[in-house]
């Protein structure tokens, strides 16, 4: 151990304060090995270094590293054609505007990001070899990998990376939903041929996530890119475009020159087929027309859950539903009324009934159990009808009231709405349901023109994010663009700003605890659960989906 300790000490001398703090946290047992590695990758430490330190400094493995992939069949074989069912992209395949699961999954096959946010929410270096913040996290420097080439043979340099980021900052890009407020046009700098530097608008401890696959629009494009992705698919990834037939699918060939020899595809070919309907995707897997189903819901794919020929892949994710209550409108101006509503729900029953148990319990804050910064010690809100009735009584609404719950017909929302309705009845609150289509509910997405943002009581669906920043910033902060509960709380705003800037897990978690407690007390919204991302395969192993909807097929192959 003496030699190992000496080497750790040596490593610590050359490490920054932030990095040393992380090592302290591990040694002190504040974080486990998995979280240490996850935080370390965000800070740009290399994986070999991290695992060395982790083993030298103890750090207990919580055993969660057990992989979902079944290796009993002797592992995936090389060769063959993998066939995957994917939901049809809902628009043009343009890195600038893609905003749907089908589109982002297609981009992620042949395109690559600076880093890959994997199924454990860890950042795996891809185009960026490593990255490093300055002392307060306001300037981030990325070292770009050398020896990477685009599919047309052009070598990739830091100029391409810079051009890509500037392209998004300077256009009407969907990536801006995450980058706005973090990085502005003009604050990017080319340091040398393989180094770029970003000066942020405000310190951000999780900035690398914003340039990872989590912000799925920012695949690295050649600097000569002309908006012609759909005809070229030119990226740097393990798969090269073979054919693309709009509305039907894409076929890829393996890229034998891929920069990472350990991730050159096992299969020779990959066919991604587009399916509009979930039912058609599920049937296609059952009938053996595809080998991989990249995503399905419990409600739509129940028959797969019990099928012995199907291998399920379950990934904990942060996708959830928000039941907002307008804090500036009757009957929800009194927080006791909001708390009472939240206390009527039996969350475990919801998770069991709607997802066959494949979801985490929500605690009325966006801090999903999957986020490492979430403080698990904050007590879970449980169903308590007596307390709820008492709270209503105290608020002067002991006789109950009537309220309209608005939402749209999609996912499991209609079922959830009925369950909320039944639960509210127990405390004398009469809920009327108004479920429209998504267009009518979301309207034009601005205050005054959207039932989502204007209704006193509504259910909204949110997709997966690798960090809770968007959920906190745009849906609950006073100035948030999508603050459906119209929640205005200066203390909360400050806590969120501090949280975003923090980059050691200790302080992030301390702030998270305060935010979680504040939201439990104020209850501007009910967040009943965070449901898992489900994928399924048949006779194929090694598929790596992510909660975001990407799937990595490079190490997938047929098993015998």
């Amino acid at each position: 151990m003496g030699e190992a300790k000496r080497r750790v000490d040596e490593f610590r001398r050359t490490s920054s304060e932030v990095e040393n703090h992380l090592i302290d946290e591990l040694s002190a047992g504040k974080i486990n090995r998995r979280e240490f590695v996850r935080r370390g990758t965000v800070l740009g430490l290399s994986l070999p270094a991290l695992s060395f330190i982790a083993s030298a400094c103890g750090g207990d493995d919580d055993g969660s590293a057990t992989d979902a992939t079944d290796t009993t069949g002797g592992g995936p074989q090389a060769g063959g054609t993998l066939r995957t069912a994917l939901i049809s992209p809902s628009g043009a395949l343009d890195p600038l505007t893609v905003g749907d699961e089908g589109g982002l999954a297609v981009l992620g096959q042949s395109g690559e990001y600076l880093a890959w946010s994997d199924d454990q929410l860890m950042l795996q270096p891809r185009i960026a070899e490593s990255w490093e913040p300055n002392e307060d996290g306001s300037v981030w420097t990325f070292a770009i990998r050398q020896g990477v080439t685009f599919h047309d043979g052009t070598p990739l340099t830091a100029e391409d990376v810079l051009a890509t980021i500037e392209y998004h900052l300077g256009n009407e890009s969907n990536a801006l939903s995450a980058l706005t407020g973090a990085l502005s046009a003009g604050n990017t700098k080319l340091v040398d041929e393989f180094t770029v530097e970003f000066t942020l608008d405000a310190p951000n401890g999780n900035f690398p996530y914003l340039l990872s696959s989590d912000n799925y629009n920012v695949i690295i494009l050649p600097k000569t890119y002309q908006g012609d992705w759909e005809s070229t698919f030119i990226g740097t990834g393990p798969w090269k475009l073979d054919t693309y037939t709009p509305e039907v699918g894409v076929t890829y060939l393996k890229n034998p020159d891929y920069w990472d020899a350990s991730r050159v595809p096992l299969a020779d070919k990959s066919e991604v087929k587009f399916y509009e309907e979930e039912q058609a995707r599920v049937l296609a897997l059952q009938a053996g027309e595809v080998d991989v189903l990249s995503n399905f819901s419990v409600a739509g794919g129940e028959s797969l859950l019990e099928d012995p020929s199907v291998t399920l892949i379950e990934i904990q994710a942060s996708q959830h539903r928000v039941i907002h209550m307008r804090t500036d409108m009757e009957p929800f101006t009194d927080k006791r009324v909001r708390q009472a509503m939240a206390l009527t729900l039996d969350r475990q029953a919801l998770v069991d009934g709607l997802f066959e148990g494949r979801a985490d319990l929500g605690n009325d804050s966006p801090f999903a159990p999957v986020f490492p910064s979430t403080d698990p010690s904050v007590p879970q809100r449980e169903k308590d009808v007596e307390q709820a009735k008492q709270l209503l009584q105290d608020a002067g609404k002991g006789g109950g009231f009537s309220i309209k719950l608005e939402s749209w017909q999609g996912f499991e929302i209609p079922d959830l709405a009925v369950l909320v309705q039944n639960a509210a009845e127990e405390i004398g609150v009469k809920v009327d349901l108004q479920l429209t289509d998504d267009g009518a509910y979301y309207g034009n997405f601005t205050y005054g023109g959207s039932r989502w943002l204007d209704s006193p009581f509504g259910i909204t669906d949110w997709g997966h994010r690798g960090v809770p920043n968007v959920f906190l910033g745009s849906t609950l902060k006073s100035e948030g663009t999508y603050n459906a509960p119209h929640f205005k709380n200066p203390e909360f705003d400050q806590l969120v700003a501090d949280y975003v800037a923090a980059f050691d897990l200790d302080s992030q978690r301390a702030l998270a605890k305060q935010i979680q407690e504040l939201l439990l007390e104020e209850t501007p919204a009910i967040i009943p659960y965070f449901y898992y991302h489900l994928a399924a395969t048949k006779s194929v192993a090694g598929v790596e989906p992510t909660g975001m909807g990407h799937f990595d097929l490079s190490q997938a192959g047929f098993v015998t």
Partner: protein, 318 residues
């Protein structure tokens, strides 16, 4: 006859113009925002506004309608908002796919329906008649998507003899394409057979009861000749009308079947365009389906007139 066709064409043009106004107004009152539905819920408001401006959706209604009409006059249906591809190209390939499915369905159901209807009429009141009439009606009463799922489960998964999607891999031979299209075509046969058989049965029954048939029989003609020359020619008239009206349904109304079998036809395209507020695509598709309907009924009218001397000569006489 020529005047009759001209009048029908003029009427068709007016109908199409009305259709264009209706669909345009319908798109106008649809809730939601175009750029927003393309960019998704998390896009920044400025990004949404910029895209709306780029697409031109922020211009006044009349300007947009005028633009659209001017484009149509030049044979240009515009560009899809979501896919940024030419609308006529997208509709063209979808319509071609739908036509393939419709053709196969007709190829199966028309002879079957006529045979069934005539048989039922000839054996009126007997068990064969009841089997065809009740069986056909029951099959039609079951919605097409129920048939679709049932057929997929039986032939695609349990027996595993037919593909569960209708889209053959690109570059497949005609025979392979037919193999992929059998299940959806079978659904349509089940749905249409009852209707077609019933219409044919009614037409045949009426012809069988008519004076001219009685005369032919009394005249001593063999039964076979009576049926072929006197009954069938008259009884097939309603069948043609049915086929014509179903053409419109097959080329635009097969939303459920196309979705379940994941077939890129015009019905699927239409739903998708409506879902995403892709107005150029939606309006173009509705207009094209309208044209198909009108052309099909026009052709049916002409065929009807040709086969039925009362209509063919009606104008000249009175």
């Amino acid at each position: 006859m020529g005047r009759f066709i001209l009048r029908r064409i003029a009427l068709a043009l007016v109908t199409l113009w009305l259709l264009s106004v209706i669909i345009f107004v319908a798109c106008e009152v649809m809730p939601g925002d175009v750029a927003r539905s393309i960019l998704g819920p998390t896009a920044a408001p400025e990004t949404v506004a910029a895209l709306n401006e780029k697409l031109g959706t922020d211009r006044p209604v009349l300007v947009r309608y005028g633009d659209w009409m001017a484009g149509i006059a030049q044979g240009d249906l515009g560009e899809s908002y979501a896919f940024r591809r030419a609308v006529d190209e997208m509709i063209g390939s979808a319509l071609w796919n739908s036509a393939k499915l419709a053709f196969l369905a007709f190829l199966l159901v028309v002879p079957l329906g006529i045979l069934g209807g005539v048989t039922a009429a000839l054996y009126r009141g007997r068990s064969v008649d009841r089997l065809i009439s009740v069986g056909g009606l029951s099959a039609s009463a079951i919605p097409e998507f129920v048939w679709a799922v049932t057929l997929i489960l039986v032939f695609g998964i349990w027996l595993d003899v037919l593909p569960v999607t209708a889209q053959a891999p690109p570059g497949s031979s005609v025979l392979t394409q037919v193999e992929y299209l059998i299940l959806p075509a079978l659904c349509l046969v089940l749905v249409l057979f009852g209707y077609l058989a019933r219409m044919t049965r009614a037409g045949t029954a009426e012809a069988l009861d008519s004076d001219y048939t009685r005369t032919a029989v009394l005249k001593g003609l063999p039964r076979r000749t009576v049926i072929r020359r006197h009954v069938l020619r008259n009884s097939l008239l309603p069948t043609i009308a049915v086929v014509a009206t179903q053409t419109g349904y097959l080329l635009g109304g097969l939303v459920a079947i196309e979705l379940i079998f994941n077939y890129p036809g015009i019905g699927r395209l239409l739903v998708r365009a409506a879902d995403q507020k892709d107005f150029p695509l939606l309006q173009g598709a509705v207009l094209v389906i309208g044209i198909v309907y009108l052309v099909a009924t026009l052709l049916a009218d002409i065929a009807y007139a040709y086969l039925n001397p009362r209509i063919r000569y009606g104008r000249a006489v009175g």
